[in-house]
Structures are given as C-alpha cells and as structure tokens.
C-alpha cells in the first residue's frame, strides 16, 4: 500500500461521537451509525461504550447492530465493492458479476480479502436502475457494468 492518501478530515474519537448525542436510548441507532461511518465497523469496545452511554443492555445494541444491514461488527477492507442486486440488475446479469468477483477475489459475498484490501458485498438496490447492472466501488457508481469493466475499475485503485 502506497502512502498516497488524500487529506481527510480528522477522524473523530469515540468520545467526540458520544458527546454529539444526549444520553437517551432513542439515540442508539444514530450513535451506531456515526461509529460505523468513522471507523468502518463497530468494535466490541465501542459497542460497550455506546451501551453505557445511552443506558441500554448490550443485548439490545447487539440486536440492533445485527438487524440493520448498514452495521458491521467486523473491520471492512480498504475498498468496498457493492454489487447491486436490484430487480433490473438481476435481470441484466448481476449474479454473473458477483460470482465473477467471488472467483477473482477468492472470497464469498460479505467477506473481506485476506490482505484487507477489498470487501465484497451486495446491495439491494442503489436506485440507478436505468444503467443496470450497477456496481458501487467505494462511493463511485459503475453503470452497465461487465466483468471486464469492473476488473479495469479495480485495477485503477
């Protein structure tokens, strides 16, 4: 990995995130979302800190963190590949794309490569149906994707 990274706003610490919210169970989801956004996953330490802060048992936070799909309890890779499995994407060969990724990256959907470089995931629909099939690589949309165009895109990273 090369040390060429764009300057990002400084990562907030868990303390700073907690202070954004009043101590009330109502803010459990918001806190989990902020922690997920800042650290790309929710570590068990942070989960405990959040529970203590808003005053809910760990089981409740656990059930929320596993019910909603945007939360991950494991670290994600440096880049996220999300293959859209919306209806139009399905009709236009999304399954072929995800299988191709699984073969090339030697992981299954939902998993991260051994070198922590890529996480392969699916998404239910990104709402860019007219350009199906669509793949999101980090925050970029790749429309009318083929295995070849997707490989090219990944090479550029």
């Amino acid at each position: 990995m090369k040390a060429k990274k764009p300057t990002k706003p400084k990562k907030p610490t868990i303390e700073i995130i907690l202070e954004r919210y009043p101590r009330h169970p109502q803010h459990l989801i918001g806190l989990l979302q902020d922690v997920q956004a800042a650290f790309n996953y929710i570590s068990s330490e942070n989960l405990n800190l959040i529970c203590d802060y808003v005053g809910v048992p760990i089981t409740q936070a656990w059930s929320i963190a596993t019910f909603y799909k945007s939360f991950s309890l494991e670290p994600k890779g440096e880049h996220e590949i999300k293959v859209c499995l919306g209806t139009t994407c399905h009709l236009k060969g999304a399954e072929r794309l995800i299988e191709g990724c699984e073969r090339d990256l030697h992981v299954e959907r939902g998993q991260t490569t051994g070198d922590q470089r890529f996480t392969l995931d699916t998404v239910k629909c990104v709402g860019a149906c007219a350009e199906a099939p669509v793949v999101m690589v980090d925050n970029n949309y790749l429309g009318q994707a083929t295995l070849i165009s997707l490989k090219d895109q990944l090479k550029k990273l």
Binding site: F67, Y68, T87, L91, G93, A130, G143
Partner: protein, 640 residues
C-alpha cells in the same frame, strides 16, 4: 443569508432573485441524476467548469453551469440541456464538452451530433422527443431544472410559494379540505387517501392534546425503483415544503425525513436544503412571521427493507429494531412516542405544494376520477427508452411502455411488466389490450391509443392481481424467466423478513423451497397448487404488509404464466434460457469468428479451440456462468 421575518421580506427576496436573472445568460444543466452519475456525469460537469475557465473572456454573458437532478432520459445519459437555446444533448462525454462550449455557449449554435436522433429524425428540444412528449411533469417540474444545493435558485423557481399561500391565505382546515378534495392517494404504493389520513391525525391530536408528528418515508426499498431518490436529490425543497404545509394543516410542529442509507446523495442534498431553509427561517420558529413553528429532522435509515412499513419506521425512529406491530392502533392514533403520526411517502409530500398552488379542482382534472394527479415511474428493464417518467394517472400501459418507452430493444419480444416491486406482481404484456372493465381491445397498433387498453391507476392495477406500487415498472422480454424472477423476489423477502411472525418467516422459506425445486426442473404439477395455497396462507396470516403482499409476484406469475412453470417441472426446460440447471451453452459454428475471447475469460477453462477457428464448449465441465456469452463480440454463444 439573513433570516426572513415576514412574507413581504420573502416576496422581496424572490423579486430580487427574479430581477437578477438574465434571460440571455447561457445555462448548461448537467444531469447528475442516478443514471447519469453511473455513467460518469460528474466528470462532464467538472470538465464544463474547467473549459469555461479556459475560455474566460470569450463570452458576452458568462455562462452558468448547473449540476442538477435527474432529467429523466437515463438511457441517453449523460444528459446536458441548454437554455435559452432550448437544446438537449445526449450521451455527452467529457471530451465533447469543449465543442459544446465553443459552438453552443459562445456561438449559440447546436452541436448536431449530440442531439437525440431516432429513426432518422433529430430532435433539438427535449419537449419534441417522443420520450418526453406524452409526459406531464408536475412533481418533477423542478427536478433537473434547479440546482438542488442552492435554495435561492429553488425560491426563484417558486419553492415555498405554496407554503406562503397556505400559511397566510388559508386556514388549517382549508388546507386539509384542499388535500381531501384533491383525491391525493399515497404514492408509496398503497394508495390510501392522504386527506383522510391527515384528517384523522388532526382530530386525534385535538382530542388528545399534545404533539403530533409527521414522517416522510424515504426508505425506498423496492428494488428497481428510484422515483423518491430522484425527488430527494433533485428537488429536496419540495418535500420540505410539503411537510411544512402538512404540519400547518394538522397542527403538527415536528417532522422527520427518514431516508435509506443506500441513498447518500439524497441524504446530503436534503441535509443542505434543510440547513439553508433553516438559515432563511423557512423551517423553524415563527415561519414567515405567522407564528407557526415547524422543526424538521433528517434521519438516516440503517438498512432494512421492512422499515418502509410504517410501524417499523416508527420503531426505527425510536431507536429500536424495525419490527412492525399489529395495527390498530394506527399511527394516526398512536404513532411515534404514542402520539398521532402521519407517515407519507416522499412523492406524496412532494405533491402537496402543487395541490395547494393549483387548487384541488385543477388537480382533480389530472388523471382519472379515483386516481387523481400524476404518477412517477421508473421505467426500466428491457425497454429502449429507460428512465424516470411522470405521467397522468390512467395512461394506458401501452402508451407508457411502447409510446414513451419505445418498445423492447434489439430482437427481444415483450413478455411482461413487473410493477410494485416485491409486493407487486408480474403481469403479462397482453393485458395491455384489456381495459379496466375486462373488455379486450383490438391488437396494439404501432402508436397505441392513449385512452385504450389497461389503465395505469391504483384500482385497475389492483384488478390484475398486481399493485401500482411505488412506481417501479420493470419491462421483461422473452429472455427473462418468470420462475426465476418470482424466485428472486422470494429470496429478497426471505432475507428481509424481520422474522417476527410465523407465516412470513416460515412461509417464505417454504415457498422458496418450491421455487428452488422448480428452477432445477424438479417437483410435480401438484406442487404449483400447494405453492398457491401456501401463498394464500401468507396473505391471510401475516402481521404486516411485507408478509401479506410477499406472495404477489409468485401468485400473479402462476396465474398468468402457469405454462412456463409446467415447462420447468414437466419438460425440464427453461423457455427463457435462464435457469441454470435446465440450459446448455454452445457456440454457433456459423457465427463464431474464432477470436478466442470466450476461452480467455472462461473461469472453468472448458472452452477450447484455435484462433481463427471454431471454438467449442465442453458441456460437461461448463458451469453455465454466462461469461462467454457476455464477452462474445459476435453473439455466437447460444443458450438452449
């Protein structure tokens, strides 16, 4: 920006903005809608800005580059429209931009090669293009026109005028009546009368004093639909304005915008719009000096399809797992924090300012008596002109798919349309010739008659066994398998079912088991009947709308395509060539030009041959992944 104290300051601001507007200033609107973005529209927009810098000094009036929301004609993206020249450029690439700047923005002429052309006709203005001609843009009027990140641009185009009208010239009850008389029905798919819902909430809040809440449902989870995404990204102020008007009508002072996390741009645009509206005092305390307060919060969804269900949204907003609860009590009785709550879809809220503006009577002139107004559809799938369309309710399915959509591309043959996502159905395309009264019209003509054939409105769509739904309309051709699609929806719902009630949790699993078998060519014809009765059990026994509507895709596909099910089970064939266990791949010796791309990309290395000679597939080793078919430049890979 300074806070606006009263309505005269607001109108003054608008007049100043209108006066500052130069009609001769060249404006290029670059579509950054969902489709164009996926085709690299951001690069086009950036290139415009840098090209303008390079040409600094060559303009009489410095042009304005606007990054806007969706223009609609997604299959022709990236779209760029120019004013005042009234030109629409299609398939614009970054390398086309310098020519557009030189020819159009400086010299005021059209770049002919970038105009849309079809059957030898070139179209200059968007309004002339067949795709746009039959549309009627009311809710989408400002989407693709205004800069969604600039409230001044929105105000110039009329944003918050309806709010001013409601707050200053109407009583809450008058607003309520207007919405009732307008006949507006929930655009999320259910089609529940909005005015009735509002009335109930207002009454409940009065009888049981305390706060009432409003929620905009932006958890657009139906796959294959992006109407709400386009509204939230392209004209966020319309949603905010609609909710403030609703708050005034119902005596509610707090609202929540609940947006799914898969829509980061919608969240960003709404957040900016909200900030700007608050800075101007259009949201918050004492709006326009009327003494009316309305606070609005933006809430990101956390990723759960079931949170499109209203009681699940409430659970999620309260910080709980999004599990639906039994109704009654309905949210208008006991909703968020047990207070009366109105939950409307984003598109429904966005209709409200237009209803207040044009009046209920004019609004009812749009559409058909029981389904008034317009509806936005995402017309996608195997259709030539795919994109976002807004049409009056009651338009015929034929006009929508063949007229606006332009028919199936290539050699395909129309087979079916899927509406309403996982809660909707798969209806055969032949139904387009059946009117709502069940009378068969003469076969479709080249240009379908707008008034004839299946009417696209809430009630006619429900009669087919499908639903109108949120607006996803996915066109299928003869290469799409209905068994596979029904199985796809079941898998989707099985994963998204919250698991609270048994019929949905186990019923979906059981139904999926049948479909998995069918896709492998297994099962008996009796299984189809068993599947139907299991589906009916879900309809009757599930707790919430997700479970109750979950069997729709299966039940409608059996109703209309039983033969295709039988082909899988009895003949062990997938007529569309989709279900993997029932197909074989081969290479057509007539067409193959021996390029060898298939062999190069075959993951199983089961294609052999010599360059410039015929290649062949080892069927025994083939996993039917379809990669060879995707890469073949001459379409020589056959599926049977």
């Amino acid at each position: 920006m300074k806070k606006i104290k009263d309505v005269s300051e607001f109108q003054e601001l608008r007049q100043t903005l209108l006066a500052a507007y130069d009609p001769d200033q060249p404006v290029a609107r670059v579509c950054l809608g969902p489709g164009c973005l996926a085709l690299g529209a951001e690069k086009v927009s950036q290139t415009f800005k840098s090209a303008l810098k390079k040409k600094k000094g060559s303009f009489k009036v410095q042009p304005l580059i606007k990054a806007t929301g969706c223009h609609g004609f997604c299959s022709q993206g990236t779209l760029v429209s120019l004013a005042p020249l009234d030109l629409m450029y299609v398939r614009v690439k970054p390398e086309d931009v310098p020519e557009i700047v030189e020819t159009s923005l400086i010299k005021g002429k059209a770049v002919e090669r970038l105009l849309y052309s079809d059957n030898g006709t070139r179209y200059k203005s968007a309004a002339e293009i067949p795709f746009y001609r039959a549309q009627q843009k009311i809710v989408l009027k400002n989407v693709g026109v205004v800069d969604p990140l600039d409230i001044q641009d929105a105000i110039r185009s009329g944003a918050y005028q309806s709010m001013a009208k409601a707050l200053l010239e109407m009583s809450p009850d008058e607003v309520l009546k207007t919405v009732e008389v307008s006949g507006l029905r929930g655009r999320g798919g259910g089609g529940f009368p909005t005015g009735y819902k509002w009335r109930r909430a207002a009454e409940n809040a009065r009888e049981n004093p305390g706060p009432a809440y409003l929620i905009a449902n932006g958890e657009e989870g139906d796959p294959g639909a992006f109407m709400d995404r386009a509204i939230m990204e392209g004209d966020p102020h319309a949603v905010i304005e609609g909710m403030i008007i609703g708050g005034f009508a119902m005596g509610a002072h707090e609202g929540f915008l609940y947006v799914r996390h898969e829509y980061p741009i919608a969240i960003q645009h709404l957040s900016v719009a909200l900030q700007q509206a608050r800075a101007l005092g259009l949201v918050g305390k004492n709006i326009l000096g009327t003494g009316f307060d309305f606070e609005l919060h933006l809430h990101r969804g956390a990723g759960a399809y079931v949170c499109g269900e209203e009681t699940a949204i409430i659970a999620s907003l309260e910080g709980r797992v999004g599990e639906p609860v039994v109704r009654p009590p309905y949210p208008v009785e006991e909703g968020l924090w047990n207070r009366p709550t109105v939950i409307n879809n984003v598109e429904t809220w966005a209709n409200v300012p237009h209803i207040v503006n044009m009046g209920a009577d004019s609004y009812t002139n749009l559409g058909v008596p029981q389904s008034t107004g317009t509806k936005i559809f995402s017309l996608v799938g195997k259709v030539k002109n795919s994109g976002l369309v807004e049409v009056p309710m009651g338009i015929s399915l034929g006009t929508l798919v063949e007229g606006i959509g332009g028919g199936v591309p290539g050699q395909g043959r129309f087979k079916a349309v899927q509406t309403g996502g996982p809660s909707g159905g798969i209806i055969p395309y032949e139904l387009r010739d059946i009117t709502s009264e069940g009378v068969k019209q003469e076969p479709a003509k080249a240009v379908p008659d707008e008034k004839k054939g299946l009417s696209v409105d809430f009630d006619s769509m429900a009669k087919t066994g499908s639903i109108m739904g949120g607006g996803g309309m996915i066109v299928m051709d003869d290469h799409d398998c209905v068994v596979d699609l029904a199985r796809y929806f079941l898998r989707f719902l099985h994963e998204e079912s919250c698991g609270k009630c048994l019929p949905c949790r186990l019923g979906l699993q059981g139904m999926l088991g049948f479909l998995d078998n069918f896709a492998r060519g297994q099962g008996t014809p009796e299984d189809i009947d068993a599947l139907e009765s299991l589906g009916q059990a879900l309809v009757d026994g599930s707790l919430c709308g997700l479970g109750r509507s979950a069997p729709n895709p299966v039940l409608t596909s059996i109703r209309y395509f039983r033969d295709e099910y039988l082909a899988h089970i009895v003949d062990h064939k997938c007529p569309a060539g989709v279900c993997r266990d029932l197909i074989t791949y081969s290479i057509d010796p007539e067409t193959c030009d021996g390029c060898g791309l298939c062999a190069k990309h075959c993951p199983e290395a089961c294609i052999s041959g010599k360059k410039k000679k015929l290649f062949t597939i080892d069927t025994a080793a083939c996993i039917r992944c379809g990669v060879c078919r995707e890469v073949c430049p001459v379409d020589a890979v056959l599926v049977a």
